[in-house]
């Protein structure tokens, strides 16, 4: 079967050995070089900024004055993004790890992965030039929509329980992720039709005027809510993927035990699975926050980029990443404004790097714990 090759070198010829040593050395050198190049990013940023900081070329007041609106804007945008993304991502992760049929799950996961890959510039364009003007015109409708979506899911639960068993069998909870889509779309359209009447009845037909007059809230067309919605859309898939991993990684023996004692799947999840997976879910949320802090194009296109510091979600802001993207190409290398922007980049780098490292440590601990729990049973 195996033909002995006539030209086969002796198993331990010195030439082959030398070649092997050489190649291994090259691989090691190349590998270390590449890794150093990648890690050089932090070093470069620090080298540009730290001497200026130490020598006092950048004064404390200057830094606070120019960076605090940016830092505030960054945190505000990330906060509202997380407000939209976390409930949706965790809900979706819970549903797909506990209830969803495996066949549907194997389709949904790649779909949400695609959602993660959508370029930020496209999401930002739709948010800034389509969604923002639309919401400005239909402010009441937008708020009603935000309310109707969760209520619609609850309504579906109430109606479903009153259906006949045959119909229920046709529309099981395992496929609810799919057949709720037309239901929610229908409810949304109904809500939009009703919204003008509601607005006329409650706010005299002009919600924006009412907000301004009664609560003294300014409304900016491109505001934190729009940014939050768009960035929540962009961040949600990665939070979902990590949280789903954590939830479905919990050893099944734990959940099975609880269910054998008579707990429902929701009770099992809430009392057993979620506590076990909590660090992983937390890590997922942190990684999502890291992405939201660094996202540039969405904030750039949907936030209006005015450096105002306000708590109101209906006003715009300017984030660090957007500030860098706008100002750095014009800044003269070595000038104060250039250094300040590099300092902003360094802060972004440190923040995301630390958050990600923390999340990674938490996740690897968790994986070890799962393995131990799995071994015990």
């Amino acid at each position: 079967m195996i033909k002995p090759s006539s030209a086969a070198p002796s198993p331990r010829s010195p030439r082959r050995h030398l070649l092997d040593r050489l190649a291994t050395g090259l691989i090691a050198a190349g590998g270390i070089g590449v890794i150093l190049a990648v890690l050089a990013i932090g070093a470069f940023l620090a080298l540009e900024v730290v001497p200026a900081l130490l020598s006092g070329a950048l004064s404390q007041g200057q830094i606070t004055r120019s960076l605090s609106p940016l830092a505030w804007g960054t945190l505000k945008a990330a906060f509202w993004a997380m407000v939209f993304a976390v409930p949706m991502a965790l809900g979706a992760a819970i549903h797909s790890s506990v209830y969803m049929s495996p066949r549907l799950r194997s389709r949904i996961k790649p779909t949400l992965e695609l959602m993660e890959a959508l370029p930020g510039v496209v999401v930002g364009f739709v948010a800034g030039l389509v969604l923002a003007p639309w919401v400005e015109r239909h402010l009441a409708g937008a708020f009603v929509l935000l309310l109707v979506m969760p209520l619609g899911a609850l309504m579906a639960s109430g109606i479903w329980r009153r259906l006949s068993p045959a119909v229920r069998q046709g529309m099981p909870l395992a496929w609810a992720g799919l057949w709720l889509v037309p239901w929610l779309a229908m409810l949304g359209m109904g809500a939009l039709e009703l919204a003008p009447w509601l607005e006329a009845w409650l706010f005299g037909g002009d919600l924006r005027g009412w907000l301004d007059a009664e609560l003294g809230i300014d409304y900016a067309s491109r505001n934190a809510l729009i940014v939050g919605l768009a960035m929540g859309f962009a961040v949600m898939p990665s939070v979902y993927a990590l949280a789903e991993d954590a939830l479905s990684g919990v050893p099944s023996s734990l959940g099975e035990g609880a269910q054998a004692m008579g707990a429902t799947r929701w009770q099992t999840l809430w009392k057993v699975v979620l506590p076990a997976a909590a660090p992983g879910v937390f890590a997922a949320v942190m990684i999502g926050a890291g992405r939201a802090v660094g996202e540039t194009m969405i904030v750039l296109m949907a936030s209006g980029n005015a450096g105002v510091m306000s708590l109101s979600p209906l006003e715009g802001m300017r984030s660090m990443a957007a500030g860098i993207a706008i100002e750095l190409p014009e800044a003269v290398p070595g000038s104060d404004s250039y250094r300040l922007l590099i300092l902003a980049a360094l802060l972004l780098f440190l923040f995301t790097f630390l958050v990600n490292t923390l999340a990674e440590v938490v996740r690897s601990r968790l994986r070890r714990r799962y393995r131990r729990l799995g071994d015990l049973s």
Binding site: G31, I35, A37, V126, M149, A176, F353, T357
Partner: protein, 535 residues
């Protein structure tokens, strides 16, 4: 949870999962709904732009007449909200006659709206579209002879004029193609020859001849003029070289419209932008994106694989390697704009500045490599996507069972032979997955490019017939930046919106197709791999 009136033990047993489970299901449904909504919005608006939609002739209650394409309809803002008045937006074209191209009209004021077949739409080189009636085609410089005729026997006269216009336009198209060929293929080499040797008499003569021919071609393109009339009766005379395309949407059948739609899509993909990016196509942006991504792949593939092989196969698997691994993994989560800052500071100002001082000092102070360009952009994106490739490749290497390596070593292979003949071939699908993910990420990334070399409008693509053929120092156009720039820095954003939608759709399609390929590849690889480890 609503319990029925039944009391006792059975009532305390949970019935179903309760409302929270449904909230969770609702969030899956909601995210699917949002994704579908976003994609269909982009697809419908992006593809709909090329559809030759009908033009209506609208008459208002005060006797005004105008022609336009209905774009959308909104409820009129009313004080008490009860009156459901609506207003409609028309695209009316004719910027040179009216000074604007959009017109809002209250629906209640419209007394008549019809779609006469003889209305023409002209795409022009300047001032955007014209919508109105065709009167006649005649030699330029001549006074309109048959003014009375055009109005008098409307139908047949305009039909003849339309047929003439079609014939003349295709002749002008041929002339234009010839002129462009001369301008782009013949002139530049001659100019270069003269630049090298100003006394080259042959080149001088040929250049003069070519210029003469171009002038002649332009003359014959301008030989004919078309007389147009807006629906409210204002006349306009255009020479034919200004007319790019003409169509009569109301007289087209469905297959004709489909054909026109297909040609529109093709022109969008194959032509350069016009009118400050608000019209025309995106060919240079497609070219720039693809070229940049290809250069980036050439850089990232060998280095990514090298680093992964080192981390997984060569390095001592201790605590330090583990820390390095975590650090590399985390760099994938560092914001892309930070990579842009690094690229600007190190590549453009640092390395590019030094290169300029050493090799291009006679061109200073205007920078050659010391400003953003294709090379720096691809290098920055290569750095940005390195962690993706390293992580994916390493995952693939780690999945290869150890007994494969041990088997190879036991048969007398050295480590290099084991790597190149056993391990790496098995890890090829993982590497491919990593590469595709990297390309998909790079294709959609815009923020770092804004710092290191993307341009709003690059007149020259970075590849041409001039030595060294590939110009790494040139700025380039990019689809994603095109979306951002056209949408936010254009003059008439409303008019450019359809093109932005179309560009965004193109970008999404590229990214989605690449990601789907990666997903299928990974699926296939895992399935095959499951079979392997069972042996």
């Amino acid at each position: 949870m609503s319990l029925s009136a039944v009391t006792g033990f059975r009532a305390r047993l949970p019935r179903g999962e309760g409302p929270w489970a449904w909230l969770a299901a609702g969030s899956v449904a909601l995210s699917l709904l949002l994704l579908a909504g976003l994609l269909s919005l982009i697809a419908v608006r992006g593809l709909g732009h090329f559809w030759p939609s009908s033009v209506s002739l609208v008459e208002l209650d005060d006797g005004q007449v105008f022609a336009g394409r209905a774009v959308r309809e909104l409820p009129l803002p009313a004080a008490d909200g009860a009156i459901r008045a609506r207003e409609r937006l028309y695209f009316t074209g004719n910027r040179d006659l009216d000074g604007h191209v959009w017109r809002w009209v209250a629906v209640a004021r419209i007394t008549g709206s019809e779609r006469p077949r003889e209305l023409v739409v002209l795409e022009r080189g300047r001032h955007g579209d014209f919508i109105g009636r065709l009167v006649e085609v005649m030699p330029a410089g001549q006074r309109g002879t048959s003014v009375g005729d055009g109005d008098g026997d409307g139908g047949s006269g305009s039909k003849v004029a339309w047929a003439t216009l079609q014939a003349r336009l295709s002749a002008v198209d041929a002339l234009r193609a010839e002129r462009d060929e001369l301008q782009h293929r013949v002139i530049p080499p001659l100019v270069r020859r003269l630049g090298n040797d100003p006394a080259d008499s042959q080149a001088q003569r040929r250049l003069a001849e070519t210029n003469e021919r171009i002038r002649g071609l332009q003359q014959s393109m301008r030989a004919d003029a078309v007389v147009l009339e807006s629906v409210d009766g204002r006349r306009l005379v255009l020479t034919l070289d200004e007319v790019l395309r003409a169509w009569r949407p109301n007289a087209m059948s469905l297959p004709q419209k489909l054909g026109a739609w297909g040609r529109g899509v093709w022109r969008f993909l194959s032509e350069g932008p016009r009118a400050a990016n608000s019209a025309g196509g995106v060919w240079p942006a497609i070219f720039g994106t693809v070229l940049m991504v290809m250069l980036m792949s050439l850089l990232v593939a060998p280095f990514g694989v090298l680093a992964a092989v080192y981390l997984n196969e060569v390095a001592h698997q201790g605590r330090l390697t583990n820390w390095v691994r975590i650090a590399v993994r985390n760099l994938a989560g560092v914001p892309s704009i930070v990579y842009g800052v690094f690229g600007l500071g190190v590549f453009v100002y640092g390395i590019g500045g030094s290169l300029d001082e050493w090799f291009f000092s006679d061109e200073l102070p205007s920078p050659t490599f010391g400003t953003g360009g294709l090379l720096w952009a691809s290098l920055t994106l290569a750095l940005l996507t390195l962690p993706v490739v390293i992580v994916a490749t390493e995952e693939g290497l780690a999945r290869i069972p150890d007994h494969q390596r041990e088997g190879a070593l036991a048969l007398g292979a050295t480590r290099l032979e084991m790597l190149t003949r056993v391990v790496l071939p098995m890890a090829v699908p993982a590497m491919l997955t990593g590469m595709i993910l990297a390309v998909a990420r790079a294709a959609g990334e815009v923020a770092p490019l804004m710092l290191v070399g993307v341009a709003k409008l690059a007149p020259q693509v970075p590849v041409d017939g001039e030595f060294p053929f590939l110009h790494l120092e040139r700025k380039f156009m990019h689809l994603g930046y095109h979306v951002y720039d056209t949408a936010f820095h254009g003059d008439d954003i409303q008019a450019a919106m359809p093109l932005v939608y179309a560009t965004a759709l193109l970008l999404v399609l590229v990214v989605v197709v690449l990601n789907l390929t990666a997903i299928f590849l990974r699926h296939y690889y895992r399935a095959r791999h499951g079979a392997l480890s069972r042996h």
